[in-house]
């Protein structure tokens, strides 16, 4: 069997494979649900209901989507320039760390003053996290996949050390967690009484902002040019290395906002389980969105919906929540395959 590129793909070819991929995901998940002894129809009904069935569940899904929008944007921005940032997890924690260091009493300002400063400092922390791999890449040609990935482990252990030591909350009953943010440093809820904080609005604005930057600004133009054809970009006078460093700073800053928004909007303090892999899931979100910033919003809602829905389904139908992970992994693999099939045809020998 071989793959042959299709020069002028038809409309059907662009839409049918992704639809088949989604259908196949559902079928595979159904089989697994049956193995677990549940009725697949009720499982999907429960997932849907758990994710979007009530006001509470919708808000829960939006809350869960918030960090995924940020990390999805971080991956989408970097991948567009072919800078493979796998380290959104570390950058997320860098943003969270900066937020608790400054927000637990060091700066005692009113909300309107402290929140923008905390956000900006978090962005700075994430950007600096990614500056090192970016410079290693542009100066010495060190592969950023390796450096950013390994930074995740180093930085998580570093956070663990801080939480056991200098940052440990004296009132925390011995748990490895930081002190709580001062009330002024907490992101308020968008509507009183509804459990949805302004971090979600910030995520939406960031997605729109990135979209505008990519399509309208010279920086976005440079990032796309470098991603598509580095050699032609360099010939035309685009400073490729500078663009890569700027891309890295932007990407790292976006991932750090996920950490800021989780700490200031939801948790109130820093723990080691702040992120259940949001940095890695952001890559899935970005790929499902085909790296489009607005698509990231939709993809993040989809992924968050599956997670939240699977949680409540698991309680009701006694099927392990791992089903959610399997569904996402299957959806991603099949979607990547489907995207390939929109551009190539398989020829049997």
């Amino acid at each position: 069997m071989r793959l042959e590129p299709i020069k002028n793909p038809s409309l059907a070819r662009s839409f049918v494979p992704p639809l088949i991929a989604l259908t196949a995901t559902v079928v595979i998940a159904s089989l697994l649900a049956m193995v677990a002894g549940a009725n697949p129809f009720s499982v999907f009904g429960l997932i849907l209901k758990g994710a979007f069935g009530s006001k509470f569940s919708i808000l829960e899904t939006l809350n869960r989507a918030t960090p995924l929008i940020f990390t999805g944007l971080a991956a989408a921005v970097a991948f567009r320039a072919k800078f493979w940032n796998i380290g959104a997890e570390a950058q997320l924690y860098a943003g969270a760390l900066m937020t608790v260091v400054l927000g637990t009493g060091m700066l005692a300002w009113p909300s309107f003053a402290i929140l923008p400063v905390l956000a900006l400092m978090a962005i700075l922390a994430g950007a600096i996290m990614l500056l090192v791999p970016a410079l290693l890449k542009t100066r010495f040609g060190v592969d950023e996949v390796v450096t950013t990935l390994l930074f995740n482990f180093i930085f998580l252990l570093f956070i663990s050390m801080l939480l056991e030591g200098p940052l440990k909350d004296p009132m925390g009953m011995g748990w490895p967690k930081s002190a709580r943010l001062i009330p002024e440093a907490r992101l308020p809820r968008i509507v009183d009484g509804l459990r949805l904080h302004w971090g979600f609005a910030l995520a939406l604005l960031s997605a729109i902002g990135i979209w505008i930057i990519q399509t309208r600004s010279t920086l976005g133009y440079e990032m796309r040019a470098v991603g598509l054809n580095k050699q032609a970009a360099a010939f035309a006078g685009i400073p490729v290395n500078t663009v890569l460093v700027k891309t890295a700073l932007l990407s790292g800053g976006l991932a750090a906002l996920a950490g800021f928004s989780e700490v200031a909007g939801l948790k109130g303090s820093l723990t080691l389980d702040l992120s259940p892999g949001f940095g890695y899931t952001g890559i899935i979100v970005a790929m499902l969105a085909l790296l489009h910033p607005l698509g990231v919003i939709v993809a993040a809602l989809f992924v968050a919906g599956i997670f939240v829905g699977a949680d409540s389904m698991s309680r009701a139908a006694d099927v392990p929540t791992y089903l959610a992970d399997i569904m996402l992994a299957t959806a991603l693999l099949l979607m990547v395959l489907a995207i390939m099939l929109t551009r190539f045809r398989v020829v049997r020998d």
Partner: protein, 513 residues
């Protein structure tokens, strides 16, 4: 040679439409065994589409392809390969990191087979390369081969698969005259062996030299055909373009002040490619300087230095009387240097960018196209549309990805991009490589017009005819060294050939000592 009557390949009333466009309109022709048929046509005449149909990449709307009397199933390249149709593309399809033998055998065996059969394959490759004078080592890594050698690998690959009909797409576009002669010798041996060849080219004298018969394609239709012995290049050109092609007239030059000078410039070698060795060169207003030389003798280094991609390791670059300080592509563009790169696809354009985005590639940061970091797409689009109409770029619109354009139209966009800024210095590196006659004459007349309005032009080309036709002064480059300048008409091709082989330099040295 007397052609046998066996029909190796026949195309019967092939029609293919893309939306509104009819790329092929009832095209029929045939090739006999042991015959060379040249397929001539301007860019966009439908040659590539036709070859893609023949090769099973596209499915024709109607019509059929038959090889030795057997009709091929449409849209199946594997069947075409099995029937003995082979193609050598203009852009080679070789894996740089594999050896010659691995490249040749790649895909000719099932992916999972217990036996590799390496020694048998090796013996066959060596036998073929001896029989057809295709000298290349089976163990050499393709990445280390010259362009001419890579082409030999492509041809060997086809012969290894026992092709009976070989399609060559612009095979001489990348070759020196000497290599072209070698290629033709190989092809003649293969023809004598019964191979049939479809030869796609724009170089009419080569078509006359190798082909038995010519088929002319224009606007998707077969508009003419002739046996080469009954026709001449002029008649062919007229058939191809619909009118007689008139090469641009060259008026005497009126050289002015030196706008750019290289003074004793040296650059280090890069891999196998020589750098410059103590090169001194002045580009004068109103003059075309031609750089002749065999491929890979320092042309790339010189183009890089002039274009801002490489700095001089020794010596200096002087612009308008002042030595340049920091030298980069952007400073080169800002200093008014128009750069037409050697490779349109890899360095000249970004394939997935549309025409507008490609048009502003060098100057998106100027006040004309952006303000405070925000692009002005309306002005950019107007600029691109201006180029499209002024330079006759044939395309569906400014928002078309440029990779969908033919080479000639791509080059016209690049020309427009650099010439619209009214440049004082023009670096044209292989500006007409792979273009058809219409586009060649167009590019040449644009370069001459720029000269006549006072621009300094540096023309780098491996086609000696082109250099001699256009240049007011010719320098020869050999192993990174630059010959003295020769005035138009002062040297014969043979005399220049001596310098190209690197021999004139030694005499000069001996003279000096």
């Amino acid at each position: 040679m007397a052609t046998t009557k066996v029909e190796a390949l026949s195309l019967n009333a092939i029609t293919k439409t893309f939306g509104e466009l009819t790329a092929n309109d009832a095209v029929s022709f045939s090739v006999h065994q042991g015959e060379v048929v040249a397929l001539l046509g301007e860019n966009g005449a439908g040659k590539t589409t036709l070859m893609n149909i023949l090769f099973g990449q596209y499915t024709a709307d109607s019509g059929s392809v038959a090889v030795f009397g057997q009709t091929l199933p449409p849209g199946n390249s594997r069947e075409a390969l099995n029937a003995g149709v082979g193609m050598v593309h203009q852009h080679f399809t070789l894996a740089d990191n594999l050896t010659v033998q691995e490249n040749i055998t790649l895909g000719s065996r099932p992916l999972l087979s217990p036996r590799l059969g390496r020694s048998a394959a090796r013996a066959k490759i060596i036998a073929l390369s001896e029989r057809f004078h295709l000298a290349v080592s089976p163990d050499a890594r393709v990445g280390s081969l010259t362009v001419g050698e890579r082409q030999r690998v492509e041809i060997l690959k086809a012969l290894y698969r026992d092709v009976r009909v070989l399609i060559l797409d612009e095979p001489t576009a990348v070759l020196t005259p000497q290599e072209t002669d070698d290629l033709f010798a190989t092809l003649r041996l293969a023809i004598a062996d019964g191979l049939s060849i479809i030869f796609i080219s724009h170089k009419l004298h080569e078509v006359m030299a190798i082909a038995d018969r010519v088929v002319v394609l224009r606007h998707g239709k077969v508009t003419g055909g002739a046996r080469t012995q009954d026709t001449d290049t002029k008649a062919l050109a007229a058939m191809m373009m619909g009118v007689e092609a008139v090469p641009p007239q060259v008026a005497p030059a009126n050289p002015g002040a030196a706008l750019m000078e290289l003074q004793g410039v040296s650059t280090p070698d890069v891999g196998n490619a020589p750098g410059l060795r103590d090169v001194t060169l002045a580009l004068r207003a109103g003059q075309i300087i031609g750089l002749a030389g065999v491929s890979g003798n320092g042309q790339a280094a010189l183009a890089d230095v002039v274009g801002g991609l490489r700095a001089a390791a020794a010596g200096q670059v002087v612009l308008n009387g002042a030595p340049v300080q920091s030298w980069s592509p952007r400073t080169a563009v800002r200093s008014g240097i128009a750069r037409i790169p050697e490779d349109r696809h890899k360095t000249g354009t970004i394939g997935d960018f549309d025409l507008t985005e490609n048009a502003i590639l060098e100057r998106y940061k100027t006040a004309e196209f952006s303000t405070a970091g925000w692009l002005n797409w309306r002005k950019s689009r107007d600029f691109a549309e201006g180029i499209i109409s002024k330079y006759d770029v044939r395309c569906p619109g400014a928002d078309t990805p440029i990779r969908l354009l033919s080479g000639g139209n791509m080059q016209k966009l690049i020309l427009g991009r650099v010439l619209e800024a009214g440049p004082q210095i023009i670096l044209a590196n292989q500006p007409v490589r792979g273009l058809d006659i219409g586009a060649v004459n167009y590019v040449h007349s644009q370069l001459l017009a720029a000269r006549d309005r006072g621009a300094a032009v540096l023309l780098i080309s491996e086609d000696l005819d082109e250099v001699m036709a256009l240049s007011d002064v010719i320098h020869v480059i050999a192993d990174g060294r630059l010959s003295p300048g020769f005035e138009r008409g002062s040297m014969t091709p043979a005399q220049l050939g001596v310098w190209m082989a690197g021999q004139g330099f030694d005499k000069e040295m001996a003279h000096a000592s």
